[in-house]
């Protein structure tokens, strides 16, 4: 309980500190929500969106696949090592 005391103090003080930090008002320039449309408007801008979209998705897939592949590789190596060690210990 003694160890938890600083944490409780922290949680109690946080809301107070946050209310103190009232951010000075500035013009809101961000979107508050997304508005759906039925069809895409005609492509008039210079920068095409498709390569960026495909690039983003490709990166996600590649990153996940590389990670899973590296896990699989290390796992098989460890399994071999484990089997090997068990055999050696059996012999002793």
């Amino acid at each position: 309980m003694k160890r938890l005391l600083p944490l409780i103090v922290l949680c109690a003080l946080l809301p107070g500190a946050l209310t103190l930090a009232q951010a000075p008002a500035g013009p809101p320039s961000t979107q508050a929500d997304f508005v759906p449309v039925n069809q895409l408007p005609a492509q008039t801008e210079q920068l095409p969106a498709a390569p960026l979209l495909m690039g983003a998705y490709a990166f996600v897939w590649v990153a996940l696949l590389v990670y899973v592949w590296s896990l699989w590789r290390r796992m098989t190596k460890l399994e071999h090592e484990l089997a090997d060690l068990r055999r050696r210990l059996q012999k002793l």
Binding site: T30, Q31, F34, L40, L47, L53, A56, Y67, R86
Partner: protein
């Protein structure tokens, strides 16, 4: 564990494979058009980055205060996943920003604090790798500070004037977008649990191997 594992793999694979189809069916957005569809991968990755940071922090606290080696292994797995999902967020975000805002990067509160959170957990991995003996505890402290950072990252976009969309976007999605979004969240969440389990299992094997080496020496 083994009985749950195979269904988990199947669920994750199916969900993840179906995600692009679901995303393609979602209506495009008015202002941002096609590129907004990056949202369906960007936001779930960010959510899982935060979740993983919490998992890592809590596991590190358990490791530091209860000296549980298993908790330390969970922490390492979660730490790696923070870096992985963080990398996804930090790459898909700028790709979206290039079209939506005209620039690859802005030093605003949300982007800066997300980058710092990612770097904290990158430093976590560096310390574990290069810190020498006893570095697990050091890394555990880093993870705790990283976890304390997460709420700050989340609210930063509501407190400061930034280009980044506010957190209210997720709760006010239109029906077509909502279904696609939460489907992707489920897909990513299943994938996260799967990766965490796999990575922890790898660490368990590593610990077993090390114990056997010690036993072989005796």
């Amino acid at each position: 564990m083994a009985r749950v594992f195979l269904p988990l793999v199947l669920v994750a694979m199916v969900l993840f494979a179906a995600a692009p189809l679901v995303v393609a069916n979602a209506p495009p957005e008015q202002t941002m058009g096609l590129v907004q569809k990056i949202f369906y991968y960007h936001v779930p990755s960010a959510m899982l980055m935060f979740v993983s940071a919490f998992v890592c922090g809590i596991a590190s606290a358990v490791f530091l205060f209860r000296r549980s080696a298993a908790a330390d292994r969970v922490a390492l797995a979660a730490g790696e996943l923070v870096v992985l999902f963080g990398a996804i967020v930090l790459v898909t975000g700028p790709l979206w920003a290039r079209k939506a805002w005209g620039v690859w990067w802005e030093w605003d509160a949300r982007l800066t604090s997300s980058l710092l959170l990612w770097m904290i957990f990158l430093a976590y991995l560096l310390v574990r790798r290069f810190g020498g003996p006893g570095s697990e505890k050091l890394a555990g402290a880093m993870a705790l500070f990283g976890m304390a950072n997460v709420p700050f990252v989340y609210v930063s976009v509501n407190y400061w004037r930034t280009l980044h969309p506010k957190t209210s976007v997720v709760m006010t999605l239109a029906p077509g977008m909502r279904a696609a979004f939460w489907f992707c969240v489920a897909a990513f969440a299943a994938l996260y649990v799967l990766l965490l389990t796999l990575r922890k299992r790898l660490e368990d094997r590593q610990a077993e191997v090390e114990q056997l080496y010690l036993a072989a020496e005796d």
